[in-house]
Amino acid sequence: MSVIDASRMQDIEARYPEILHRSFRQRFGALMIFIGVILYGFYAVWFFDLPKVITEAHWERVGIYLSEWVSYDVQPEFRISGDTISIKYPRFSPLGDNPHPDWVTNNPDGSLTVSVSGTSRAVTITKTQAILTAHGVTIPIDITGDVPKVIGSEPVPAWMTVYDDNILADMGFAGNVSISTDRVKIRKRFIGWANFVFDTHSPFFDKPASEVVSLIVSGPRLNPEESNLSLAFDNVWNNGAWQHGDVWTKLFQTIVMAFLGTLLGSVVGFPLAFLAARNITPNRLLNQVLKRFFDFLRSVDMLIWALFLTRAFGPGPLAGSGAIFLTETGTLGKLYSEGLENIDNKPREGVKSTGSSTILVHRYGIIPQIVPVIVSQTLYQWESNVRGATIIGAVGAGGIGLKLWEAMRTNANWENVAYMVLLILIVVFLFDAASNALRTRLMGTQNR
């Protein structure tokens, strides 16, 4: 082991001062940035009033919404008047107009037992009482007075809430029971997407798959006007709860918007890029004007173009395509002109030396070099516009965005939101894969 004495150390220090004596910025720059970001974090917490927002948040809704993405509920109402208990299902119930679900049983003594979740969570309704069974206990509730009253069992268990004129029993994911003196409302939750294929108005509703298939293949015509196949297709396409036709058309609109906008943007941006590239068009003023124009188109932003064009053309995909077209002209024009500025000048000179005209010089000297950049950038932009077009849809520019936004705003159709999100994800992933495959094939092996 060699030992370095002081003189050699000083020697090394003198030879490499930049390593041993680094400036303040070099030594503490990263630390300062880190501290700065932490301080900014504190500022942001204060600025957005985060603690208040967090404490006031309805975190219990997370579970409710997320479970609503994959489930549906049925809300029968049991009205008790005099001697009869009548069941009322809401209009557009997922079970159809005349359901007789097996989870409602008529007991011999005239009472009804509704199973919310198996036999462990159920409610039995008699003319005088509602008997709740859940969490291992049975609690009768007297409903003969002015307000429903819990019999015995003091204090009431935590899963029950007593309000002025009704009692709410929470049965977890399975649903809840709301009891008032003249009616018992039950919300029973099921996993799955009800009526996804046929809605309740369809003659095929609630039939097993084999029966539907045999009806379509060889059954008698349900509607003399059209064959069962076209009837079935019509029922699926115009499904009232899921609106498959509308959703798919809107999704297709989004794709078309992205396609049209990107294609037009590239068609317009391409010649402009030649004028904006300083090595091809030697006019500095023209270069600068065009580059700033591209900047303007991009920075005014898709949103503003979309708002403007929806005013001009009315809501729909035309406005969306126009908005994407304007921003894309800016983006692609910039990217193309940067690509043009990076080309190798030698092929151009070679073509020029043969005495070709300007058009031919551009055609044979420049375009072959720039085609890979153009194709890959354009494909990439198309793909990312399919992703982005959902948002401008929400301000009325056509496509699935508005539908998505409306489904969310009602706070009830989260399963429709899930369906649309799923479709969007599938489309985006398909486009990702297709555009990647196309890019790699067109550009050889290079994959950006």
């Binding site: 975190w59 609109q253 969310m408």
Partner: protein, 326 residues
């Protein structure tokens, strides 16, 4: 058309000049055919998409084209100095305070900070929007940084981890932002936090992808050196890889900040608060001066952010062309 297709496929090498010439013209003919077919398909797709878009639009293209600027002319303020007044919340003579309704009652939006000192409404909204963009970029950067090392082929600790991380990033990128914003504005009540979460999650996916591509292209020699002295994975990342990628990471983060300023404006327009919502309201109500003021402010801010980030990026990584990516 692939590169391979355009190469003359020769089972037997052409012997004479004539054969070579024939092979060449065959190749050219095939190339032309492919190009022509491609253009024809593109053209058909274009025409049918235009028709589809036109038919499902509320107003048809050629009917509405003469009216393209109707709306714009409607938005032109009667008095151009109203734009300036709207921007700084000054009283306007065109509608005496409170009399002209919201359209001209600009001082309504003043945000008093200290005594008579106030921030004009739109500046405050712009500050919120920029902060949304900044916070979500920082969140995206901080989360995407470690994730990118898990996702990079050359640095990932194990293959399953790499694939899972990549899928998570793809998912975050592709998930529609408005859904996240909608979900969180239902939970957290309407406000900028929902926008931060939506834009931040998207940023994690987008930056993560760019980052791991940078990591995959690093020089592995420092990493080998670290391995040789027995460094752990964390140390290899910290001392072998991070110093190489940091300038590019910063540059991409700045690029992302530019995009996020726009993204938070758009998210704002669908209920995330900030300047986007105000812009949408002002346009839908037809407030000319306010709209022009907002667009002007937005334009100036975006250009300023772009220029600042371009300057900073040039200082960080030199003259380097980076592509915009969503």
């Amino acid at each position: 058309m692939t590169i391979a297709d355009t190469q003359p496929q020769m089972q037997t090498a052409p012997q004479t000049a004539r054969e070579i010439g024939d092979a060449w013209s065959r190749m050219v003919a095939r190339r032309r055919l492919y190009t022509g077919l491609g253009l024809a398909i593109l053209f058909i797709a274009f025409v049918s998409s235009v028709r589809f878009a036109d038919e499902s639009n509320a107003g048809h293209f050629f009917d509405r084209l003469p009216h393209l600027f109707d709306f714009l002319s409607w938005l032109i303020p009667k008095d151009w100095s109203d734009v300036y007044r709207a921007l700084f919340d000054l009283p306007s003579p065109n509608g005496a305070n409170g009399v002209g309704g919201e359209e001209f009652n600009f001082p309504l939006g003043r945000v008093y900070v200290w005594g008579n000192f106030y921030i004009p409404e739109y500046f405050e909204l712009m500050i919120i929007t920029i902060n949304v963009a900044l916070v979500s970029t920082i969140i995206g950067f901080v989360v995407a940084l470690p994730l990118s090392f898990f996702a990079a082929r050359n640095m990932s600790p194990s293959n399953p981890v790499r694939l899972v991380t990549k899928r998570i990033m793809e998912f975050l990128r592709a998930f529609p932002e408005i859904v996240i914003a909608g979900l969180f504005s239902a939970i957290l009540s309407i406000g900028p936090i929902a926008a931060i979460i939506a834009v931040g999650l998207h940023t994690i996916g987008a930056l993560g992808k760019l980052f791991y591509e940078v990591v995959e292209n690093i020089d592995m020699k420092p990493d080998e050196g670290m391995k040789a002295v027995g460094a752990s994975w964390t140390e290899r990342v910290r001392f072998g890889a991070l110093p190489q990628v940091m300038p590019n990471f910063m540059s991409y983060a700045l690029l992302r900040l530019e995009i996020n300023v726009r993204a938070s404006t758009i998210i704002g327009a669908v209920g995330g608060g900030g300047i986007g919502e105000e812009l949408k309201l002002s346009i839908s109500r037809g407030f000319g001066a306010k709209t022009v003021a907002l667009v002007l402010l937005l334009f100036i801010t975006i250009v300023a952010v772009d220029q600042f980030s371009a300057w900073l990026r040039r200082r960080l990584v030199g003259e380097h062309a980076f592509f915009l990516q969503h």
